[in-house]
């Protein structure tokens, strides 16, 4: 019995395809070319969140994906809207965030004519997407949407952009006519013969890795964001406890391993703590799991962990040997590989068969005692120390609070001073370092996880880049909380000018009072609170946490002279880590 074909237009097909992919929310902003797709949204159960700037839509989709593990979806029009969303695309590409971006395009017949609001979206976004596709036939929409979700969420996740000419979605245009169909998983896979990500690690390599671990007396588990993408936190915990190997979690992996676990050494890298940095430097084996030897982690490459052998597990074969040649390369999904590795270690005798590493762990805990993170509390009447604000925020916020940051000093302090106990509670722009990320990312996270408290910790510089999205949050009743560490400067740039440019401060001063952040917050429909002295910090945080019907902005006036320590000066060896303003270099 043949079924009657279901005829519909491309716009309806696009929305229906998104519904069938399980999309519950689209972050977007309509415009000329995407208009026809906005009509069927009215009748769709998908929630649409109207942003105030297309960059906000992209970062919201990223924040949503970070917090939920599901792909975030953003939809905007052609031309300037497409170029406005390039930054989030690049951000998601660098940090491997699953995201679908739909852009409008001028009608197929007008492409290439410099039509109004036309730009070469595919050409512009080619190098900042995992894949992009210009759909030229309405009939192709269901298949291409399914391909996009498959690509965004499998293998190494990443952003996929679909560029949709107006005529194929406009019901008044015959080009939009199509017959509905929904391809099977097999059809989707078969339609992309060049895409076959390897998920299962090679058994021989896994055995080799298990044997190498068994011979190491100073190993470190060097854990990156891939652990979170692979939902591998439990497998990692099992591996660490089975082998009693200390763990460092990179900026992208904060929360992948509990900070209060005895084996956790915290964050390595340029602003990592002394123990995490030094343990990697002194190790005889780095077990890199979903991490990519980023320059901010390795410091000067030829002096990075010179005595260490490398086991490198990554879903992306291009990461293996890109920066540091591994002794045992394993291509595969981090969770599957770690589970196999755990089995291989058990087969070799489990915990009893591992060498005695107590001396190594003692050395690490010795460093932790000798060089903890530290700062000096401010004198009465002086500006707040940002670290103190973060300690209070950490201690007064509910368990499982999600914290998002922008980029700069506040980001590093938050990563350092927060105690991450659960995966997917930390959201930041790591690879691209996008200022202004935190507000929209927090809104996206809160949209996906409405029952959780979501704090965005922001700098005053970052806040001014994307603050308009708080109007979106207020309108849509998405009660995020923003902590501005207002030090009146582009603080990280100021820090570099202080340390490396003889305190010649060039174009970094922003003023503490202009804008007035409290008035600005209230103008956007948020509650605005200003905090200037230490005794006001806790009450303000408690009050902010109690407000659940609208966004809250708490402006903390912080000390602009405070610097982020420890620091490995750029281009220097990690062994030259500077632990504090008076600490000098430790050898």
């Amino acid at each position: 019995m043949s079924e009657e074909p279901i005829r519909m237009n491309g716009g309806e097909a696009l929305i229906k395809a998104l519904e069938l992919e399980g999309v519950e929310v689209i972050f977007g902003l309509p415009g000329g070319c995407i208009l026809p797709v906005y009509d069927p949204i009215i009748d769709s159960p998908i929630r649409h969140i109207l942003v105030r700037h297309e960059q906000g839509a992209g970062h919201m989709a990223e924040g949503y994906a970070h917090a939920t593990g599901r792909p975030g979806v953003a939809m905007v029009t052609s031309g300037p809207a497409a170029t406005n969303i390039v930054t989030p695309l690049c951000d998601a590409y660098m940090d491997s965030i699953p995201m679908i971006v739909i852009t409008g395009q001028v009608p197929v017949g007008a492409i290439g004519t410099d039509a109004f609001q036309e730009c070469d979206t595919i050409g512009i976004t080619r190098s900042v997407t995992k894949h992009n596709e210009l759909i030229t036939r309405a009939q192709d929409i269901p298949l291409v949407v399914r391909q996009a979700f498959h690509l965004a969420t499998t293998g190494r996740p990443g952003p996929v952009l679909l560029d949709i000419p107006k005529d194929i979605v406009d019901p008044t245009n015959p080009n939009s006519a199509m017959e509905w169909y929904w391809p099977t998983d097999e059809e989707v896979v078969a339609s992309m013969p060049g895409y076959k990500p390897t998920t299962k690690g090679h058994p021989k390599k896994i055995k080799e890795a298990a044997l190498m671990i068994g011979e190491s007396v100073r190993p470190v588990l060097y854990v990156g964001g891939g652990i979170l993408k692979a939902r591998a936190a439990e497998a990692l915990l099992e591996l660490a406890e089975l082998t009693q190997i200390p763990v460092v979690t990179t900026l992208m992996a904060r929360g992948a391993f509990p900070d209060d676990h005895p084996l956790c050494l915290g964050m390595p890298g340029m602003h990592g703590n002394y123990t995490a940095v030094t343990a990697m430097q002194e190790s005889d084996l780095l077990i890199a799991l979903g991490s990519r030897f980023d320059d901010r982690v390795t410091g000067k490459l030829d002096s990075f962990a010179v005595g260490a052998k490398i086991i490198h597990v990554d879903i992306d074969p291009a990461e293996l040997g890109k920066v540091r040649r591994p002794d045992v390369p394993i291509v595969g999904d981090a969770r599957l590989v770690i589970e196999e590795l755990n089995r291989a270690l058990l087969a070799l005798g489990g915990a009893e068969a591992q060498p005695d590493r107590s001396a190594w762990r003692q050395q690490c805990s010795g460093w932790q005692e000798k060089f903890p993170l530290s700062y000096e509390q401010s004198e009465p009447g002086q500006l707040l120390k940002p670290q103190y604000v973060l300690e209070q925020l950490r201690d007064l916020s509910p368990e499982n609070t999600i914290v998002a940051t922008g980029v700069g000093q506040h980001q590093m302090w938050t990563s350092q001073y927060w105690t991450f106990r659960h995966p997917y509670t930390w959201i930041c722009s790591g690879g691209l370092g996008t200022m202004g990320f935190s507000i929209p990312a927090a809104i996206g996270a809160k949209t996906g996880m409405p029952e959780r408290t979501v704090w965005a910790v922001d700098g005053d510089g970052c806040f001014q880049m994307t603050a308009q999205e708080l109007v979106t949050a207020a309108t849509e009743r998405i009660p995020v909380k923003i902590a501005i560490l207002n030090n009146a400067y582009l603080g990280m740039v100021r820090q570099w000018q202080e340390m490396f440019y003889d305190e010649r401060y060039s174009e970094v001063y922003l003023s503490p009072d202009l804008p007035d952040y409290v008035m600005w917050a209230e103008a956007m429909g948020c509650v605005g609170i200003r905090v200037e002295s230490p005794e006001e910090v806790a009450p303000a945080i408690i009050r902010a946490n109690s407000i659940t019907d609208r966004p809250v902005v708490v402006e903390f006036r912080t000390d602009s002279s405070e610097l982020v320590y420890p620091m490995v000066p750029v281009g220097r060896s990690n062994s030259e880590i500077v632990v504090g303003p008076t600490g000098g270099e430790i050898q």
């Binding site: 080619r126 190098s127 995992k130 894949h131 060049g194 895409y195 992306d316 074969p317 291009a318």
Partner: protein
């Protein structure tokens, strides 16, 4: 691009890349080389016998370590099906050259003789010049170009090389 007379060095690598025959695929491949900072020495592309696919033959300038990285990055392109690095010693290569060279009545027979030595053909004749076509391995084309120079080369157009692996001649029962 280097001039055609520069002999290929050991830094040249020959990649045969099977791709989906779709709009924009060549741009993806080419922009990946540009984005990662690798130079394409020559490039030839045409559909295969199966019209769904095209084969791109790329001669790239790279040391072997960066080459591994570019191959892995190319593999990440969704439209790239398969990449083979061909060892010049284990493959057959050809490149087509069209060349217009000065050839008046006095020198024409010398040019024709040279072209026939190189198994080429004269494909167009003018009053004072001829255009010749030769399909050969790139080094032989370099030699011919060198030998034609004294006559006065007016224009050279080469296609970039195409290549296939040599057939297995191992004896099997």
């Amino acid at each position: 691009m280097s001039t055609a007379s520069t002999p290929p060095t050991t830094r040249h690598h020959l990649l045969s890349v099977l791709v989906e025959n779709k709009a924009g695929v060549l741009a993806r491949v080419a922009s990946l080389f540009a984005r990662r900072g690798y130079n394409i020495y020559s490039l030839a592309v045409a559909p295969t016998d199966d019209e769904r696919f095209s084969r791109i033959t790329i001669v790239a300038d790279a040391d072997s370590a960066p080459l591994e990285q570019i191959v892995k990055q190319l593999n990440k392109l969704v439209n790239v099906i398969k990449i083979s690095e061909l060892d010049p010693l284990d493959s057959v290569e050809r490149e087509l050259m069209l060349c217009t060279v000065k050839a008046d009545a006095s020198s024409r027979h010398n040019v024709i003789e040279l072209v026939s030595i190189f198994d080429g053909r004269i494909v167009d004749v003018g009053h004072g010049e001829v255009t010749l076509a030769v399909a050969e391995i790139p080094a032989r084309l370099d030699d011919l170009e060198e030998l034609l120079k004294p006559f006065g080369i007016l224009i050279v157009q080469r296609t970039g090389r195409v290549a296939l692996p040599k057939l297995d001649r191992t004896f099997t029962r």
